[in-house]
Amino acid sequence: MSNQESANSETAKPEAADSDNRAPVLSVRRLSTCFRTDRGEVTAVDDVSFELSAGETLGIVGESGCGKSVTSKSIMRLLPKRNSFLKPQSEIMFDGQDLAKLSDREMRAIRGNRIAMIFQEPMTSLNPVFTVGWQLDEALKYHTKLNRTERWDRVIEMLDTVELPNPHRRALEYPHQLSGGMRQRVMIAMALCCDPEVLIADEPTTALDVTIQSQILRLMDNLKKKLNTAIILITHDLGVIAQSADRVLVMYAGRVVEMGSVHDIFHNPKHPYTEALLKSIPKAGPKNHGQKLPTIDGIVPSLYDLPIGCRFYDRCDHRQDLCMGTEPKLEQHVNDRTVRCHYPVGGEDS
């Protein structure tokens, strides 16, 4: 392993001793991302806050356009400057620095090196004209001071870590010679080769079939335990969340609507949206045979024309008069849960 990891663990140790819980590596506070468009300014991510500790997986769920990917790209500062900006109150604290205020040059030293990202499409995430090994090597060349042979050893080691069979041969192959699952393994190897503290996985398994999906998720789980990396797992697949997340953040129309441990969210959803989402998972078994799959009626409100009250009002089964006029605040519940609802559903917290 490189020197960097040992350096990181040294800095992390005193903090860990101070608090009984693990100290957050990344804490996002009041993140708001706005886009300038022809029809005016829209706030795609509105006042999102969360904390992430080492070795923890935070799942972010929500339907298309709810701001999941924009959140991750805001953290990485990958959004085009020309038409987007973070609101000034946004804070992305990472290792004592506010990423929202770093210069491009400082940000480049962090990207890929300390915060890495895996993309959705393994088919197009690798450059088709270079070998897999070359691309891994490139990342190391850019971020570390290792020499050529050390780098190559590390490339092979990483490919071996992600359980790619025959890494010596595969490293010399081009992306089109690998299957989708193999490419996603390579992407993970690439993301992890500089020992990042935070790994953002933006729908890492969407393009894969189910068996490969579970293999990849298990691999990410194992690596997380081994390398103590914090993972932000962005997906719209609740099955993926159930398998690998520790905590879940549910987003709706740019807002956090509910956050809690994966157990609480799945067994005792408090926000009507979460409840409806969980209901609309198809269930197997003879009991459900011939039954209509419950869905959430209506569509997500347009970001150009948001309601004054609760953003879920139009589609909510539990709506009341209060919901239309005033937007609920994010309220703290027991067990480190937060819910944005005037009338939370579900039973008492267990």
């Binding site: 990485m76 990958l78 030293a109 993309f119 995430s125 450059n127 089109h176």
Partner: protein, 391 residues
């Protein structure tokens, strides 16, 4: 020597492709000639030196006694003029028909041979129906023997050389067409390689940068290429070529290079810009940014290599385009100024064609078509071969 590279996938695919092999063989031959010219192993005789007086190609001449007769007579004419001049020895010594030199005989002897020759000539011209009469051919052969007496005997090597010089005939000034056509290969390669290389590189980098950085860079590049492409290509070439006349670059190939590069970069620029607009939204470019690479690095190492196939195609298209444009420009008298080129040859041949002397224009055209065709086939084959997805 290590022949390991022949075992690679690309090499095997190349060796299996017969068209590509054939085309590259033809290009190799052209290239060898170009290299020989460049090394000075094939040199052009001085402009005033004639290989032979108005020769027609060997394969064509023997069919027509009338033409053959005229051709032999012109040698006699030349020697007779020299004999009649004020200083016969000096003038005779100056006569060089390629490898042919006037025989080392006394003036009287030479005069005698010339007179004998004219007797044959008169006899032959008095014949009616020269083309069909049966005893004409032996008489022409005797006439040609007289011509041979006039000149010093050649060694086998010299004779072969002379045969090659005359193999495709001469132009009106008696210059060897074969030699001029071969010499022009060098000019064609020079213009093709220099202009296509520069304009493809220039166009690609401008196009890729415009698309990748957007904003004012994009505006400037688009403004530039729409301005250049709104002027008719040939008019711009003519204007630029004129601009250079009279400067220190007049007479060199520099005006041609500059004028071609200034108009040719537009094609690759537009194509690569479009491709980059597509590529920059692909996930691997986002992934590269997420790896923390800076934008210039991403442009050079991730985007430009992915447009290599387009650069290759554009290179060959422009190579061919440059050769063809050189021909047009030289035809108009604005291109190559010194030395021959296929364009100059075609331009000079325009008056010959009317009188039936087709070999100059024919040779230049066939040489050009051969190179252009071979290049097209090779590029097409290379595209398949270099595409890793193509099995």
């Amino acid at each position: 020597m290590n022949f390991g590279f022949l075992q690679t996938r690309t090499a095997r695919k190349f060796l299996r492709n017969k068209l590509a092999l054939g085309a590259s063989f033809i290009i190799a031959i052209y290239f060898v000639f170009a290299a020989l010219v460049m090394c000075g192993l094939i040199t052009l005789p001085q402009t005033e030196e004639r290989i032979g007086p108005k020769h027609i190609p060997g394969f064509y001449g023997h069919a027509r006694p009338e033409v053959r007769l005229e051709q032999v007579a012109s040698y006699f004419e030349k020697v007779e003029i020299a004999l009649d001049s004020t200083s016969p020895e000096a003038t005779l010594a100056e006569i060089k028909f390629g490898e042919l030199r006037v025989a080392n005989k006394s003036l009287e002897e030479l005069r005698q041979i010339v007179d004998d020759g004219w007797v044959f000539y008169d006899e032959l011209t008095e014949q009616e129906n020269l083309d069909v009469s049966p005893n004409v051919i032996p008489m022409i052969e005797k006439f040609e023997q007289k011509k041979a007496e006039l000149f010093a005997p050649m060694t086998d090597f010299q004779a072969t050389k002379q045969m090659i010089y005359l193999s495709l005939g001469t132009d009106r000034q008696g210059r060897s067409i074969a030699l001029r056509a071969i010499y022009s290969i060098k000019v064609a390669f020079q213009i093709g390689a220099v202009t296509s290389l520069i304009s493809v590189l220039m166009g690609s980098f401008l196009g890729a940068a415009a698309a990748f950085f957007g904003g004012w860079v994009d505006h400037v590049v688009i403004w530039l290429y729409s301005t250049f492409s709104s002027v008719p290509n040939l008019v711009l070439l003519v204007v630029l070529a004129y601009t250079f006349s009279g400067t220190m670059f007049d007479g060199t190939l520099v005006p041609v290079y500059v004028s071609f590069c200034m108009t040719f970069w537009i094609g690759p620029c537009r194509v690569i810009r479009g491709e980059t607009l597509k590529i920059k939204e692909l996930e691997y470019v986002h992934a590269a940014r997420a790896m923390g690479f800076n934008r210039v690095y991403i442009l050079l190492r991730h985007i430009i290599p992915n447009t290599a196939h387009l650069m290759l195609v554009n290179f060959s298209l422009l190579f061919i385009g440059a050769i063809k444009s050189e021909v047009i420009l030289s035809f108009l008298g604005l291109g190559v100024k010194k030395g021959p080129s296929w364009g100059i040859m075609i331009s000079q041949a325009k008056s010959e064609v009317i009188t039936g002397y087709f070999w100059q224009i024919g040779t230049a055209t066939i040489f050009m078509v051969g190179l252009v065709l071979a290049f097209n086939i090779l590029t097409d084959a290379l595209q398949d071969i270099l595409d890793p997805k193509h099995v």
